[in-house]
């Protein structure tokens, strides 16, 4: 009985922590995902109290936005007025600036430190040669056996400690009510949110490490509370009164709203103009020379613009996992990684098989790979063992000196050299899809229907009409050196893996004659026989597009060659655009991709602020400054609204995660982000801590979000989704999907709909299915509502 209520309390308490993803597959998720069921304002307030976190942008960021004209004066002043604040914005900036953050002693210093020590050694994923003894028995039991030797805790004999964590909890918590238990758990889980978030991740992902070395929140709390009792630390926290000025929170919220509204206004103005000038085109247009499908990622916007300007090319935006819910088995290390959005469970497993007649390449590759692996193992052994460590340093030191020079002075040169010599296995392998469910450890084959469905939905969702001879599916990946956060720059829709394999898989499926036949037979799509699909990858650091063309028929070779030269010149202009320089932009990008001292190899998804679901025609003539996710969608081809529903359930939720992650890691980089990279210390091969140790860092580092310690790059505002579709269709979808409606009602994101049936009027979603016009009058009406919001907000604060 007691145990049951303890478990329930833990579950209730655990929503205070998010999920800390390992850096080798870093998913930008919402650190407050446990609170998505309540409103943004309630959630941030809870976070403020429980995690002691900053929840709104710092005043210096507001000031920068204000000075750069990111916040429109009339919007801000109107919003302030509506809330009875009549002084100048400058005055309120000053007032917000009066809020100071100070450092005070951590009252649980020893407890937190000792916990961090034990968690770090238990969770290690092979950085240490000598692993924590008894790890297999799970965290609590392993700790229990070693605790008696830890003079810091002061436990003399093994029999003093209960055998299991639930016994320990029951013992420590006797006399506390259920509510008090929840409070205790919340407090102690929130003490090290990075580490507890990682426990959360391990439990949910059930990784190989978790299977081998299990840990649970109950184990964590058992150990922590037992040590707390031993150190005579407080078990039940005294509730600290929030001393911050309510007025300041209110102001910060108004400023945030004004900032978001200003951005929406800008976006509306841009798109309105387009919707008038560009009429949606129907068949009869000349077929483009090639079509390219990019990820919805904000970085695609720039390269698409530049590719389109180079010739008669058409581009589409589609979630970068290309609709294949798959895990991918990498040929390099035989590890199976998720390669689809974390919200989707993997139905397929994709692995590599050799292309016909390329057996030799495969064998040579495997041999080379084995030798490389041996090299790594060899060096590790030499460094670790006694006394070879000393001899090794003397024999190899000079060569390390040479590498020091080479890597520091000529990273760009070595990048080009490496690229020339690399034999990537895409040239002699092809992906093969199987079911993720296995029978006798053999993956089952999948049916033709499933293959057809995958291909069909790609064209359905993006509103495809006609097929060019060349159609490229272009995933994306990033190159950077010495970068613990490298995977955060890869494709978010592929669970932080590079997207190339999904792209190659879809191309292969779409090239299958039986799939094409089925598509044609059922009157879905008639793919011309001279259309060939190819997988490719956009390197987001250098803007190079690598095409996996080893199986392209000769008939298409020439066209492909033309395309390649256009893509090269697109790379040139795209990098020039990105760096704001004229010459040598590719060399600069290549240096950034391989410079071990580069903390900002590229900007990832920073600056993201909008998600546009509409045909490319609507955005094609605008420079959106890489601030928008773009999903192609044609409302006229999607009569039942099924495609739109899919986009809203999938990509829209993923972009919300990304945006919320960027928001929170910007407003409190130390708590929700990773802090500065320059003092990072990698722990256990999966995470970083700052300096000498402490809590595991859970989010993006300062260098991914800020231009410098003081100047912002990412603008911390909530995502505005804009869909071009009849409003009734969107309403229907929201009615069918309670979770999406909750997300909007709770203001984690904004939704605007551009209704083509009403002259492309744009309306903004408001709580409980109300649609507010965004005309001039609309702004005023909006303001009134915001006032009500703020009043509600006041109540919460008081």
């Amino acid at each position: 009985m007691i145990q049951q209520h303890i478990l329930k309390s833990i579950e209730e308490a655990s929503k205070v922590i998010g999920k800390t993803w390992p850096l080798y597959s870093f998913v930008t998720s919402n650190p407050l995902s446990g609170y998505e069921k309540v409103s943004f304002k309630d959630a941030v307030n809870s976070a403020k109290d429980l995690l002691n976190a900053k929840i709104f942008p710092e005043t210096s960021l507001y000031r920068q936005a204000w000075e750069q004209g990111e916040i429109e004066k009339n919007i801000l002043i109107a919003l302030l007025r509506e809330n009875g604040l009549s002084k100048s914005p400058e005055f309120y900036l000053q007032q917000m600036q009066s809020q100071k953050w100070v450092q005070e002693k951590n009252i649980n210093h020893d407890l937190d430190r000792i916990m961090a020590k034990w968690l770090a050694i238990f969770m290690d994923e092979g950085l240490a040669e000598w692993e924590m003894p008894g790890k297999k028995d799970g965290f609590y039991k392993a700790w229990r056996k070693l605790a008696i030797y830890d003079s810091e805790i002061g436990i003399k004999a093994l029999c003093e400690i209960p055998k299991t964590s639930s016994e320990a909890l029951a013992h420590v918590l006797t006399g506390y009510s259920k509510e008090e238990c929840t409070k205790i758990f919340t407090y102690h889980l929130a003490a090290l949110p990075g580490w507890t978030g990682f426990i959360n991740y391990r439990i949910e992902s059930n990784s190989l490490w978790q299977q081998e070395y299990p840990i649970s929140l109950e184990d964590y709390l058992g150990v922590r509370l037992w040590i707390a009792q031993q150190l005579k630390d407080q078990i039940l926290p005294e509730i600290e009164k929030d001393e911050t000025d309510n007025m300041i929170s209110k102001l910060q919220y108004i400023w945030l709203k004004a900032w978001e509204k200003s951005w929406q206004n800008q976006l509306i103005k841009t798109l309105k103009k387009e919707s008038i000038t560009t009429k949606p085109s129907r068949n009869g247009e000349p077929c483009p020379d090639a079509q390219m499908v990019f990820c919805i990622d904000t970085r695609s916007e720039l390269i698409r613009r530049h590719v389109e300007s180079k010739g008669n090319y058409e581009t589409y935006g589609y979630a970068g996992f290309f609709g294949i819910a798959m895990d991918y088995e990498n040929l390099n290390d035989d590890l199976v990684r998720k390669s689809c959005p974390p919200i989707v469970s993997s139905a397929y497993k994709v692995s590599e098989i050799r292309q016909a007649s390329k057996n030799e390449n495969m064998l040579a590759y495997k041999k080379k790979n084995e030798i490389l692996k041996f090299g790594e193992y060899f060096l590790r052994r030499m460094k670790n063992m006694l006394p070879s460590a000393f001899g090794y340093v003397e024999g190899s030191g000079f060569y390390y000196g040479l590498s020091l020079l080479a890597r520091t002075l000529t990273p760009g040169y070595f990048y080009r050299l490496k690229k020339k010599n690399i034999s990537s296995y895409e040239t002699f392998c092809e992906p093969e899809i199987n079911s993720a469910t296995t029978q006798d450890e053999i993956s089952l084959q999948i049916t033709l229907d499933e293959k057809v469905a995958i291909v069909k939905s790609a064209f359905d969702l993006t509103g495809w009409k006609q097929f060019s001879p060349l159609v490229l599916f272009i995933g994306h990946g990033s190159h950077s050196a010495n970068n613990p956060f490298g995977s955060s720059l890869d494709c978010g829709a592929c669970a932080a893996s590079p997207g190339r394999h999904n792209a190659r898989m879809l191309a292969k499926l779409a090239n299958l004659p039986e799939v094409r036949k089925a598509l044609a037979d059922n009157n879905h799509f008639n793919i011309p026989t001279d259309t060939h699909f190819i997988g490719a990858e956009h390197n987001t650091t250098t803007d190079e597009i690598v095409i996996f063309d080893s199986e392209v028929p000769d008939s298409h070779k020439e066209q492909l060659l033309n395309l390649k030269s256009d893509l090269l010149s697109a790379q040139q202009t795209a990098t020039q655009d990105r760096f704001g320089i004229q010459g040598n932009s590719i060399a600069l990008a290549q240096r950034k991709a391989n410079d071990w001292g580069e903390t900002r190899p590229e900007w990832g998804l920073a600056k993201n602020a909008g998600f546009i679901v509409a045909p490319r025609a609507l955005t094609k003539n605008d420079n959106l400054d890489s601030r928008c996710f773009l999903h192609s969608y044609d409302w006229e081809l999607d009569i039942k609204g099924k495609a739109l529903e899919g986009i809203m359930q999938g990509p829209m939720v993923v972009t919300q995660w990304i945006n919320n992650h960027y928001y929170f890691s910007t407003v409190d980089n130390d708590k929700f982000g990773g802090g500065s990279k320059i003092t990072h210390n990698i722990t256990g091969k999966f995470g970083v801590v700052q300096g000498n140790g402490g809590d595991l860092k859970m989010g993006l580092p300062l260098q991914s979000l800020f231009q410098s310690d003081r100047e912002m790059y990412h603008k911390p505002i909530r995502l505005s989704v804009l869909i071009q579709a009849p409003i009734t269709r969107v309403t229907d979808i929201l009615l069918r999907n309670e979770n999406l409606k909750t997300l909007l009602d709770n203001e984690w994101i904004y939704l605007m709909v551009m209704d083509p049936l009403q002259e492309n009027d744009i309306k903004l979603y408001e709580k409980n299915m109300q649609w507010v016009p965004t005309t001039e009058e609309g702004v005023r009406e909006e303001n009134y509502r915001t006032k009500v919001d703020v009043e509600i907000f006041d109540e919460i604060l008081i």
Binding site: W101, N106, E243, K367, K383, M385, F390, G691, Q703
Partner: protein, 494 residues
């Protein structure tokens, strides 16, 4: 009135602008200056090698081959680290401060090896520690970094205190106030004075090199930006090697070489075991440094001060590289069992054969171990290393027989060859210094330690340590950073 305001504003603007351009230009200027210093030293050394002219300035400064060697080394590291930091610290609000501290540190080391007068000598030693602790606490808004900075500063002050005590004691007893004067007049002093002074100098040396029980400062120094750590591990901790080389005659006169040998040897073994259980990459590197420093001090204890200097330079390359690349340790992997150790008789013969071959090559090229003296010890380590190289290669199934035969000799010839070159080079540059390469006759202690090393080797090889949980926890706690430098503070809004 408005005009005045405008004027004021514009001057303020221009001041701000010039400050901004200054803070952008400053790191670049210093970096160029450091590269210039390095190139100058290198060219000078190459030009005069092997007989660098001795030069002295009235008992205040002096320059010889050894001085130039260390100057070249330290300017190389600081120039390289500055270049790296140029990108790495881009946007860091204390970038200029970092560069200034780097420069200050480099100049202190330069002054240290150049100074002859003991006041200058001691002040520059103090300066090195001062600048290093400032680099550790460079982010003054960060509470834990401030604590770490204060903590390390206490160690460095302790080190300086002992060094001053030892040097001043000798100075006042002998009436000489230059380093060169001191070391040449040791035999006129009573043994107890020399011994006390030697113990003081040794203490200063092992504080600097983070030798047990003074190791904790190095494990608590990760609050410094990564390039500062690289500089620390390549150009600061190894100060002991330089100090002991300068005072080699003191060690011989006081007969304290065995003390060095034992302290160094024990630290080398313990730290190498401690390294195995580190889960943070920078602490792992720090443990490795401590072990390497132990080894360096052990080399001093064997009478090979020149070998210690070679070691400190090569280790500098090695460790600077690993620190600057410490962001590469993220890896998706799966749980693995520790490898099973089994070797076939034929493989054992091959291992033994190449081990002996490597030892012979080493002995021939460096002259160490050709006679029955303490050099044997170093040759033994080379033999075991070559044996381990061979062992790992012959065990590898993916290599062909030909590869297995060729790879070990290629590797050990490359390794030993380049080491021997460095060794000869350094020995030539240190030729003018007294007593820096004096092999000692083989003693019982050396033999005992030789055995301890072999036992350590087998314990590690067979993985016996894994079965001793209390040792794990003991070493874990010994290697924890300073308490107050972790999770000591919380931020709070007012």
């Amino acid at each position: 009135m408005t005009l005045e305001n405008n004027l004021q504003e514009s001057t303020q603007n221009s001041i701000e602008k010039s400050y901004k351009s200054f803070s952008l230009a400053f790191p670049k200027i210093i970096t160029s200056f450091l590269w210039l210093l390095f190139t100058g030293n290198l060219v000078y050394m190459m030009y005069y090698f092997p007989s660098i002219p001795e030069w002295s300035l009235g008992g205040i400064l002096r320059v010889n081959g050894f001085t130039i060697l260390i100057l070249t080394t330290v300017t190389f590291f600081s120039a390289l680290v500055s270049t790296y930091a140029g990108n790495y610290l881009n946007g860091f609000r204390y970038h200029s401060r970092f560069m200034a501290l780097c420069l200050g540190f480099t100049l202190s080391v330069m002054l240290f090896v150049m100074s002859d007068h003991i006041i200058l000598f001691l002040l520059s030693w103090l300066g090195m520690g001062f600048f290093m602790s400032r680099l550790i606490g460079i982010d003054s808004n960060w509470g834990e970094a401030r604590e770490a900075s204060k903590f390390t500063q206490r160690y460095f002050l302790t080190g300086t205190f002992f060094l001053s005590a030892g040097v001043l004691l000798l100075a006042f007893e002998s009436g000489k106030f230059t380093v060169s004067g001191l070391v040449s007049s040791l035999n006129e002093l009573p043994l107890y004075i020399v011994s006390i002074a030697a113990i003081c100098v040794i203490t200063a040396a092992i504080v600097q090199s983070a030798i047990y029980p003074f190791h904790r400062w190095l494990l608590s120094a990760m609050t410094s930006p990564t390039p500062a750590s690289a500089l620390m591990h390549a150009g600061f901790v190894n100060g002991a090697g330089i100090l002991l080389a300068l005072f080699s005659t003191l060690m011989f006169a006081s007969n304290t070489l065995n003390v060095l040998f034992i302290i160094g040897g024990l630290t080398a073994i313990i730290a190498q075991f401690t390294k195995l259980l580190q889960v943070n990459v920078k602490q792992k590197l720090a443990c490795s440094t401590i072990a390497q420093m132990g080894f360096m001090i052990m080399q001093c204890g064997l009478g090979f001060f020149n070998a210690a200097v070679v070691h400190l330079i090569l280790h500098g390359f090695y460790k600077a590289y690993l620190f600057l690349a410490s962001g590469e340790a993220i890896e998706h992997s799966k749980p693995q069992k520790p490898p099973q150790i089994r070797i076939k008789p034929f493989q054992a013969v091959v291992v033994l054969f190449f081990g002996i071959l490597g030892a012979i090559l080493f002995a021939l090229l460096t002259g160490k171990g050709t006679e029955l003296d303490s050099g044997i010890f170093l040759t033994l380590i080379v033999a075991i290393t070559v044996g381990q190289v061979t062992y790992n290669i012959v065990k590898q199934q993916s290599l062909s027989v030909l590869q297995k035969t060729i790879l070990p000799p290629v590797l050990f010839i490359c390794g030993i060859g380049i080491y021997a070159l460095m060794y000869k080079w350094v020995t030539a540059l240190m030729a003018e210094m007294p007593m820096v390469a004096v092999p000692r006759s083989l003693s019982v202690i050396q033999v005992v330690f030789g055995i301890v090393f072999l036992v350590g080797f087998f314990i590690m090889k067979l993985g016996i340590y894994r079965k001793v949980p209390w040792l794990y926890v003991r070493l874990l706690n010994v290697s924890q950073p300073y308490k107050k430098s972790i999770l000591m503070y919380k931020s709070k809004s007012l």
